[in-house]
């Protein structure tokens, strides 16, 4: 995996990029919560929310459909929701016979399914925007300031730092195993148990290498005076521009929900 595959940050100089990361995190959570609270079938409200997200992408110096396009990646996860279409009571749309079962998707069911998928896609987009406009170190500092225990913050920080290193090691282990494994006529060799054993040995190897690396890093930390405290050079200042962002976002979300409740569904 190329180093940059793990990076979601897009370097721009935009209003969103300059905003306080704490605010961005809080807004991301607020938008996710707001999306979950949108009623089924509130298409206009969902459309407005999507429009707000497009504006946010522009405010982040990104192409308007940046987040929309990338959110499609999450579609496969939505497969599980398709059953909703068939079990929601209501006006039947069709009768599909699958062997002994007869599936009757209903209008309400399809509506429900569409609502679930759209809500999910909206929330995925806001996470994409967050990581595109905020660097990981800033996210970590912000989480610490927002009350996440510093133990957990440093765990995430070190994890992100060494993720590429360890993923590379895992891939090297897998490539090394592949190049030593002759495949049988059906493309695989050995029993399932044997293959699990090989995979497990790789996991064990990776663990030992990781553990030894953690000991070396610990020594390096001691050599520079680590004594258990978590110290950083960082000041957060919430500026007037950030107030504007907060107000715009809150007003926007309230408007979306007013639209959702005020306009009758169908």
């Amino acid at each position: 995996m190329h180093v940059h595959a793990l990076d979601r940050f897009e370097a721009r100089d935009s209003a969103l990029h300059r905003s306080d990361p704490r605010l961005k995190i809080v807004l991301t959570l607020a938008v996710a919560l707001s999306n979950a609270a949108l009623p089924d079938g509130s298409w206009l409200a969902m459309g407005c929310m999507q429009a707000l997200l497009v504006l946010a992408a522009l405010a982040g110096g990104l192409r308007p459909w940046y987040a929309v396009v990338r959110s499609a990646v999450a579609l496969p996860f939505m497969l599980a929701a398709t059953t909703v279409a068939f079990v929601t009571p209501g006006v039947p749309v069709a009768q599909i016979a699958l062997g002994p079962w007869v599936l009757t998707p209903t209008v309400e069911g399809l509506e429900r399914l569409a609502s679930i998928v759209l809500r999910a896609l909206l929330s995925v987009q806001v996470a994409i925007l967050l990581t595109a406009t905020t660097r990981v170190p800033d996210l970590l500092h912000a989480l610490g300031h927002l009350g996440v225990p510093s133990a957990l913050v440093s765990v995430v920080g070190l994890m992100v730092r060494y993720l590429t290193v360890l993923v590379d090691e895992a891939q090297r282990l897998m490539r090394g195993t592949q190049s030593r494994s002759a495949a049988g006529p059906d493309g695989t060799g050995g029993s399932v148990f044997w293959r699990a054993r090989v995979a497990g040995s790789m996991v064990g190897q990776l663990f030992l290498r990781s553990y030894e690396r953690s000991e070396r890093v610990h020594q390096a930390m001691l050599a520079r005076g680590m004594d258990g405290r978590h110290l950083t050079l960082y000041g957060h200042v919430v500026r007037r521009r950030d107030h504007a962002l907060a107000i715009i976002a809150i007003v926007g979300l309230i408007a979306v929900h007013i639209i959702a409740r005020a306009i009758p569904i169908r």
Binding site: V165, A223, G225
Partner: protein, 234 residues
Amino acid sequence: MLEITHLHYAYPDGHVAIDDASLALRRGEKVALVGPNGAGKSTLMLTLNGVLSPPPGTVRVGGLEVAPPNLPTIRARVGLVFQNPDDQLFSPTVRDDVAFGPLHMNLPAREVEARVTRALAAVGMSAYADRLSHHLSVGEKKRIAIATVLSMDPEILVFDEPTAGLDPRGRRQLIDLLARLPQTMLVSSHDMRFVATAFTRVIVVDRGRIVADGPTAEVMANESFLVAHGLERG
């Protein structure tokens, strides 16, 4: 500046890594430490700043004994640069890493920032302050790793295989950098050409013992001696 007197170090499993070693460095000296793998070079280096605990009275830096109560001061005086820079760059950004040392010395923020700027400038990496460590090349990481130690204003720098893994250009840059830095230095290396040209004094370690300690030209001249201790002239 640095005094090691009859140092003996054995690991918890009983393996004796250093067997009665004694050496002394004067301020400003640049000395190379050579020897085969497993000779005890790394172990020796780790006792210099107390990461491994030497027996009482055996290691002194600037007159101060390497012992638990002195460790914070010792660690500011002895800048240890490890072989693998990835092990030393553990903070989210370069700036965070270079600031780590001075921050833990309880210096005020403004002083820490000033030191970060100076250290990065000393290694020629001022433009890299806000970069993420895992984006850098090996050569860049090695120089940042040196900066992380320089920001503590050490009196003596200790390097473990500084040129390992570098391409010829990176190696040249690093050798030039080491020549420019004014601190007292103890450098362990397998790169015998580097040793021969950059250091006036060489210490040879084999199986935990110091088997030679003298001017580079003399030590390097005796080829059979070098080979006997797992080295070559280079």
